[in-house]
Subunit: 575 residues, 2 copies
């Protein structure tokens, strides 16, 4: 990804000279935009003239994965048809900001048609949902999401040569009763808008002259379920909105506001470093946000939410005016249907290989939150690896033989590299060398033993925008070089087959993660286990988020929104 290098430089600069952070912001916004503009302006390679019909690519979804694929697909020899119920891409990391009007909804969305318009490939878009995939006949069945004004004309099917499934996930209720009916999710732009309206509604209702203090308290009890980055950021945003803006307009009822965060685990932000978790918990304590750890919600009703406290085993009920449910993702029903159809039972998402290809299918790809990469275990292939490496077939591997395949092994099984790093082995040869003195040849048993712990380093990828975006860009890059790599494969040796894989497998590069905590403070976990908490990370956050916007338009709008918020505060009109 284009941003990785910028990001790393910025992190380094920032690390070494923290006071530069604000200058970085400006430079980022300008330089990154410039890069994009440069990208936009590049002339499209047109290699027409041959009569080969264009390959049809159907893309399902316009979220991070699908849009990143479309943005990076440059080869004009594809005919792309995008199907999604949303005709826009939404910059979802800013959704918590949209809930309180820190940025406007329109500032974080960009029509998918204008994103694809300037790309090389010819792209068609249909605002519809795919309700059935027929992989035998290479067909998807779709229908319009809007009303049925035109009857049957609103259903259609599309043929494909390649299918890219990037339909995302839905919020997971863990089948908790009442959540679907009485809680707000925070997954789509509409959710964020609904939350914003509800917050204002509650403040207006609580201002009515006929209400008792009891009623006002009930209405202004906000409960956030889930202490992940989204839940935490929403709680922080809401706190700021209430105490920075609403307190001025509703001074008499500010005292009734109560924000509670329920987390089933032992800590909030548990995917972050302990220092960040501690900081966040104590900041929330100072802010008066009530964080209840070890609280598992068992029921949500119209006016009450009940949670079981792990420490005491008791079920405690809280009154609420609004519940926001943000406990992670679950599988979409269409994806579940498709999984049943192709025999992928009891998985949480579509299973792909390391090339993002749906297991069992040559021409279907799945990426983003609706997919999971099934990483191959070294131990599964250990015999094949050994025999491929043992070129002279003498039953023993010497250092020379090992050195020849080790690059392919590391490429095919990334856990090997992580294992080496973790154990501070500079040279892969160390793997075979139990002590300085030991023999430099190994038989299969020795080899197995040496690699036996490697697979423990395998990790599932997190369900984040970053993973989805990198997957989309990776797949587009493969599609761009499909023909080339068919002839000159660039991937690792096929240990169980013949020749090489066409492409290198997908590798995720973690670029860090932010957790905004309100009051212009952000916690950041950056590459190299570097932790940053406070106002300067907030500026880094502004900088990165502005630069990552999908278009110059949204970039300008987001920056304007932030400036407007600084000057005028957040708007509280109920529209």
């Amino acid at each position: 990804m284009r941003w990785s290098s910028y990001y790393q430089t910025a992190s380094r600069v920032f690390h070494e000279y923290p006071s530069w952070s604000k200058a970085v912001v400006v430079c980022t916004v300008i330089s990154s935009g410039g890069l994009v503009a440069y990208g936009d302006a590049r002339p499209v390679q047109s290699e027409f003239g041959n009569e080969i019909p264009k390959k049809k690519v159907v893309v399902l979804g316009t979220g991070w994965a699908g849009t990143s694929f479309l943005k990076n697909l440059k080869d004009p020899s594809y005919e792309v048809h995008v199907v999604s119920p949303r005709n826009y891409f939404a910059f979802t990391p800013l959704l918590p900001s949209v809930t309180c009007g820190t940025v406007e909804a329109r500032s974080v969305v960009e029509p998918i048609r204008s994103i694809t318009r300037k790309r090389g490939a010819s792209v068609q878009f249909s605002e519809a949902e795919c309700y059935k995939i027929d992989p035998k006949n290479n067909k998807v069945y779709c229908r319009a999401v809007q009303g049925k004004k035109l009857g049957s004309a609103e259903e259609f099917s599309i043929d494909y040569d390649y299918l890219v499934i990037a339909m995302g996930a839905r919020s997971n209720t863990f089948n908790t009763p009442g959540v679907q009916e009485h809680a707000h999710f925070l997954k789509e732009v509409e959710d964020a808008l609904r939350i914003r309206r509800t917050v204002i509604d509650l403040f207006e209702r609580a201002s009515l002259p006929s209400l008792s203090a009891e009623d006002k308290k009930k209405l202004l009890s906000f409960v956030v379920v889930g202490g992940g980055p989204t839940g935490v950021e929403f709680a922080a945003e809401l706190h700021d909105f209430v105490h920075e803006d609403l307190s001025k307009l509703y001074p008499s009822i500010e005292k009734y506001v109560k924000i509670t965060l329920l987390e089933a685990g032992d800590h909030i932000l548990n995917m972050f470093d302990k220092r960040i978790t501690d900081f966040a918990e104590s900041k929330f304590f100072r802010d008066g946000i009530d964080v209840k750890l070890g609280s598992m919600v068992v029921n949500v009703s119209e006016n009450e939410i009940s949670a079981k406290e792990r420490a005491t085993g008791q079920v405690v009920s809280l009154p609420h005016g609004m519940v926001v449910w943000s406990t992670g993702i679950g599988t979409r029903p269409e994806i579940l249907d498709f999984m049943k159809q192709i025999g992928q039972i009891n998985r949480r998402a579509l299973v792909t290989d390391e090339w993002l290809r749906l297991e069992g299918f040559e021409n279907i790809y799945a990426l983003g939150d609706c997919a999971t990469v099934n990483q191959r275990r070294v131990m599964e292939d250990i015999a094949a690896i050994f025999s491929k490496a043992d070129k002279d077939n003498n039953g023993r591997l010497d250092l020379k033989e090992f050195r020849e395949v080790v690059g392919d092994i590391i490429e095919r099984y990334p856990q090997v590299e992580i294992y080496l790093k973790k154990n501070q082995m500079k040279d892969v040869a160390n793997l075979l060398q139990k002590s300085e003195e030991s023999s430099l040849t190994a038989d299969i048993e020795y080899f197995k033993d040496a690699l036996s712990k490697v697979d423990s380093q395998m990790k599932n990828l997190p369900a984040t925008a970053q993973v989805a975006a990198q997957q989309g860009a990776y797949l587009a890059d493969c599609f761009n070089r499909m023909e080339l790599c068919e002839k000159y494969p660039e991937g690792p040796i096929r240990f169980r087959g013949v020749g090489r894989h066409r492409f290198r497998p997908f590798r995720y590069k973690h670029l860090g993660q932010f957790a905004p905590l309100g009051g212009e403070q952000t916690a950041a976990m950056l590459p190299g286990d570097w932790i940053s908490i406070g106002h300067s990370s907030q500026w880094l956050w502004y900088s990165i988020y502005a630069s990552k916007q999908v278009s110059w338009r949204t970039r300008m709008l987001v920056v304007t929104d932030w400036s407007r918020r600084f000057i005028f505060g957040r708007d509280s009109s109920r529209i």
Copy 2:
């Protein structure tokens, strides 16, 4: 009104030096904001210390009239309670721009709480609707507009000393069947947002691959009913949106778009000068907007609209994807109920005297679109006027006597002044003087005869934002000086009573009117019958509309929106 002087200066400058217009824009935006800021910063006169309880003023409505009243009420001796189903003020003249995203909805609204926060008077707001007024007991009954979560607690009553009714009007369907169900109005912010979503919906539906050309045509047939300024501006905005922005993203279906404007009268914009009407009609003709004059809509169904053509008497049906209904205003049901209750039957709105006081009530005022001023005829009072003027009671009026009361006559009966101007009489004495030589005294018959044609100059005020805003400011001014004017009345003589009226009656100053026609062209009818059409009026329009914004926040947002539209076009994401 504060703006009138600016406006007149600007018009003059603009008239004399048309090329200055763009400079005026900048100056306006800056200087006007400055004025507002200055107004905001003025210290409130606090004359507490006396034990008189504060007078309770209840204001119903937060539209132009109500908000203007609240903005201008400076006397801290009132306790104001505002009740409105909308917790914000909307700058309605920009609603047609909101329908196509030329400006965003949030840019034209400002929370009523932040408008009133900095004013002198203490203001409380309740988001509720008033469903009953009890003028005998000085009470209004209200209920919350949102869901019924809290049961009976959401109904309440408020006592008042003064009641200001400014509830506005609703769209008038003239009881045409199907309008309520199948047409869009353009009166509230929500309407504009709904129209915007529908336009994008229709373009997305028409892009579905399964649709026939016939279906696409049906979907993309937009029908606007009503050739007033709102309907015309919406048609023009829609045309620009389609051909400037959507055509780039939906190139294959642009050709199916058809915009039709149905007007029952002989011309569109019939309240404007003939030159403007002609220009608008020929511009629309060039743009391909089909203007059907003399077409009276008789029925609207889900997919068709039927209109009776006056020329042929035939009923013609058109298919439609969307109908926007903008044919003028009607009375709100709550107002109709109240009118029945107080015996004002068969009127289109609440009838007030020239001081905006509801006829028959001392402490109830009605202004804006829900009210109409019942102007007094000179002929009704002619005997009283004569006897008041005839100080020496000799049955004849001489010039001296006449001169003494003529100021009061003109103040009380503004039609006299209009009549004088129309007949180019420089001196009022001319009224009594049929020829240079004739006697300068008059008896009652002669006096009646001289004034007999004066009442023909009476005109109802138009139902515009300008009238409502001026009424609100006028009434606030009266409230600010209530005590003072009780002691020292400043109004004209009471011809039928004793002494003087407390206040001068309300006088409307027409500051001109705009009709944006699309393609950066606007028609303007300015004071002094000066007509301006074209790009320079568009700049004047930008200038005036930016300066008239209710706050610095909305002013900045509107200007940013315009800039954004110039650079990036309008957004077409379906949110």
